[in-house]
C-alpha cells in the first residue's frame, strides 16, 4: 500500500473514531432533510420538481457549510500533529513530506465525500423518489454533490496551507475563520459594493466574470446553480449564467486550481519546515 493511502487511511479512521465523520454527515443530513421538506413545500403549481427546489436550497446551504467543514477538518492537519508531538515520528519514517501532505489531504477529502454523499443523498432520496423527478433534476443534484466535494476539497487545501504556514494551532484556527469570512461573506459584499459604487463605469462585465473566479464559493455557485436549466431558473441564476457564460469546461478546471495551488504551496512550505 502506498504511503499516501496508509496516511489517508489513518485520517479516515481517526475521523470515524473521533466522530467527526458522523457529526459532519448528521449535520449535512439533518439540514438537507429540513430544507427538503420545508423548503420544497411551496412547489404547488410551479413547473418544478421537489428535487429541483431542494437542489437550489442545498446549494445555498453548501456555500456556507461545506467550506466551514473543510476548514474545520484541515486547519490543524500539520500544525496540530507538530503541537501534539506526533509529527516527528511521521517525518522520520521513510516517507517524503509531500506524501504526508497528500495523504492527510486525501483522508480528509474522503471524510468530506462520505458526509456529503450520505448527508445530501438522504434528502435527495426523500424528495426525489416517488414524485417523478426528471433526469434534469437528478443531473443538477449530481452536479451539486460533485461541486460541493470540489468546494470542500478547495477549503481543505486552504486549511492545509494555513496549517503548514503557522506555528500554532490557535493561529491556524483564527486564520481559517478569517478565510471563511472573506470567501463566504465579505468577498461578495465587497464585490457588490464596488459594482454599486462603480455603476458599470470601470468594472466591465468581463472583469466581473474574472473577479468571480477569484473566489471558490462563487465558482461553486456558477457551477451548480447555473448548471441546470430548471435549477438556474429557480435560483434566479439563469441570467447570471447567460451573462457569465462560464461553463463547467472552465469552472471545473478553475476549481481544481483552487485545490492544487494551495495544496502545492502547503507541500512546498511543509517541505522546508524545521521542527
Amino acid at each position: 500500500m502506498s504511503a499516501v493511502a496508509v496516511i489517508a487511511g489513518r485520517e479516515v479512521l481517526a475521523g470515524v473514531r473521533n466522530r467527526w465523520m458522523l457529526a459532519a454527515t448528521l449535520l449535512l443530513g439533518a439540514l438537507a432533510l429540513t430544507l427538503a421538506f420545508v423548503g420544497s413545500s411551496p412547489v404547488g403549481a410551479v413547473d418544478a420538481t421537489r428535487l429541483s427546489i431542494t437542489v437550489v436550497s442545498l446549494s445555498s446551504l453548501s456555500v456556507f457549510l461545506v467550506p466551514l467543514i473543510g476548514l474545520l477538518v484541515s486547519y490543524d492537519a500539520l500544525v496540530g500533529e507538530i503541537e501534539r508531538g506526533t509529527m516527528p515520528l511521521l517525518m522520520t519514517c521513510p516517507v517524503t513530506r509531500w506524501r504526508i501532505v497528500l495523504g492527510k489531504f486525501a483522508g480528509q477529502v474522503a471524510i468530506l465525500v462520505v458526509a456529503t454523499v450520505a448527508g445530501f443523498g438522504i434528502a435527495a432520496l426523500a424528495t426525489g423518489l416517488g414524485d417523478g423527478s426528471d433526469a434534469d433534476a437528478w443531473g443538477a443534484f449530481g452536479i451539486m454533490v460533485g461541486g460541493s466535494i470540489l468546494l470542500g476539497a478547495a477549503f481543505i487545501a486552504l486549511g492545509t496551507l494555513f496549517s503548514a504556514v503557522v506555528a500554532e494551532r490557535g493561529t491556524a484556527a483564527g486564520v481559517s475563520v478569517a478565510a471563511w469570512l472573506v470567501f463566504v461573506v465579505l468577498f461578495d459584499m465587497a464585490l457588490l459594493a464596488i459594482l454599486v459604487a462603480d455603476e458599470g463605469q470601470a468594472v466591465s462585465g468581463e472583469l466581473f466574470r474574472v473577479l468571480l473566479l477569484l473566489n471558490p464559493t462563487d465558482v461553486y455557485r456558477m457551477l451548480t446553480l447555473a448548471g441546470s436549466e430548471t435549477v438556474g431558473a429557480l435560483s434566479g441564476m439563469a441570467g447570471v449564467s447567460a451573462e457569465a457564460a462560464f461553463g463547467p469546461a472552465l469552472l471545473v478546471p478553475v476549481m481544481l486550481l483552487w485545490i492544487a495551488v494551495p495544496l502545492g504551496l502547503a507541500g512546498l512550505l511543509f517541505g522546508r519546515k524545521e521542527l
Binding site: 489513518r10 481517526a14 501534539r84 522520520t92 519514517c93 521513510p94 517524503t96 524545521e274
Partner: protein, 308 residues
C-alpha cells in the same frame, strides 16, 4: 568517518543568536552504543534532530547512514533509522496494534514483525486497547516498539527511559544490547547517568552546544582527574586514632565511627597504608571510584544551561 552510522563534522546550528549546537564533530560506528549527556538546553535534542533531518545545520556536515539528510536519497535512507522522541505521542483514538501497524506499513515492515515488536516491549496483551488509555510508561514502550521495527541500522533515542519502571528499564537495555550485537548503532540522550555508565560504549558530554568531553566512561574519569572516595569505619572509640592517622586531611563524618575521605588517585596507596596501620581498630574500608555523575559535573558544569 567512512562507514560511520552517523558522522557530524563541525556542525553548527543556532536559534536566533543562541547557538544550540556549536562546532560538534562526532562519528558513531555501527554496533556502537553512544550516550549524549547534558543539562536541559545543552543541545542534545537539537543534535539528534540534525541527525534525523528534522532541522538543517547552519554550518558543517551531517551524514546519517552515509546520506545527507534532505538529499534525494534521504527518504530511502530513513528505512534504516529508528527514532524515539522525548515525550513520544500517538493518536489516542487508535489502539496500540493499529498504531504499530501504521508505522509498520510506512516502514515496509510486515504484521509478524509488528507483533514481535509489541511482544518485545511487553504490550502484546494490551495491544487492542486505545493508546489514550495507556500510562506514560506504556506509551514510551509503544514508542520503543515502533523505533525498533524492522531492525534499524541506526537507533536514535531521546531521553528514552523516562516513565519506565525498573523492570522495563532492564528489558530496554537488554534489547539495546541485543541490537548493538547485531550491528545497530545506538545514540541516546539521557539524564540517568548510572544507566548510561553501564549500558553504553562511549559517552559525550554536551555543554552550551559544544561537545565538552567524549570518550569511554573510564577515560573520562581519568581525564577529569577526580578524587576517589575512601570510606572508613573504625570500632567505637577509635575516631581519635583515625583522625591522627589522617594527619589533618579533611574528612566527612558519616556517623560516630565512620568517615569519608577524598583523595587524588596518586595518593590512594599511601593513605590506605596509613589507615590499615591502625590494625584491628579498622572495621571496614571501602574505595569508591568517581561515578559518571562527578564526571558530568566536572565537564557539564552545574545547573541548567543559560542559567546565571
Amino acid at each position: 568517518m567512512a562507514g560511520a552510522a552517523l558522522a557530524l563534522e563541525a556542525v553548527t546550528k543556532a536559534y536566533g543568536r543562541q547557538p544550540a549546537v556549536d562546532g560538534v564533530t562526532l562519528a558513531i560506528a555501527p554496533g556502537e552504543r553512544f550516550a549524549l549527556l547534558g543539562h536541559n538546553g545543552a543541545g542534545k535534542t537539537t543534535l539528534l534532530k540534525l541527525a534525523l533531518g528534522l532541522t538543517r545545520p547552519d554550518g558543517g556536515r551531517v551524514e546519517t547512514l552515509g546520506t545527507l539528510p534532505g538529499s534525494p536519497d534521504w527518504t530511502g535512507a530513513k528505512r534504516g533509522i529508528g527514532f524515539l522522541p522525548e515525550n513520544v505521542a500517538f493518536a489516542g483514538a487508535m489502539s496500540g496494534r493499529e498504531t504499530i501497524r501504521f508505522y509498520g506499513r510506512l516502514k515496509g515492515v510486515g504484521r509478524a514483525a509488528c507483533e514481535e515488536a509489541l511482544a518485545q516491549v511487553g504490550l502484546a496483551g494490551v495491544a487492542e486497547k486505545r493508546v489514550k488509555t495507556y500510562s506514560k510508561g506504556m506509551r514510551q514502550r509503544l514508542g520503543f516498539a515502533q523505533a525498533i521495527l524492522g531492525s534499524p541500522r541506526l537507533l536514535i533515542l531521546d531521553e528514552p527511559t523516562g516513565g519506565l519502571d525498573p523492570d522495563s528499564r532492564r528489558a530496554f537495555h537488554a534489547t539495546l544490547a541485543g541490537l548493538a550485537r547485531q550491528g545497530t548503532a545506538i545514540v541516546l540522550s539521557s539524564h540517568v547517568l548510572t544507566e548510561v555508565e553501564a549500558g553504553t560504549d562511549r559517552v559525550g558530554i554536551m555543554r552550551r552546544g559544544r561537545l565538552a568531553a567524549c570518550g569511554t566512561a573510564d577515560e573520562l574519569k581519568r581525564r577529569a582527574g577526580l578524587a576517589v572516595t575512601i570510606r572508613v569505619a573504625v570500632r567505637p572509640g577509635g575516631g581519635a586514632r583515625l583522625a591522627a592517622a589522617l594527619d589533618g586531611r579533611p574528612a566527612t563524618r558519616i556517623n560516630d565511627h565512620a568517615v569519608e575521605i577524598g583523595c587524588a588517585a596518586g595518593e590512594k596507596r599511601v593513605l590506605i597504608e596509613r589507615i590499615l596501620g591502625l590494625g584491628d581498630e579498622v572495621e571496614d574500608i571501602e574505595i569508591v571510584p568517581p561515578g559518571l555523575d562527578a564526571v558530568y559535573a566536572r565537564f557539564g558544569g552545574a545547573g541548567r544551561e543559560g542559567a546565571p
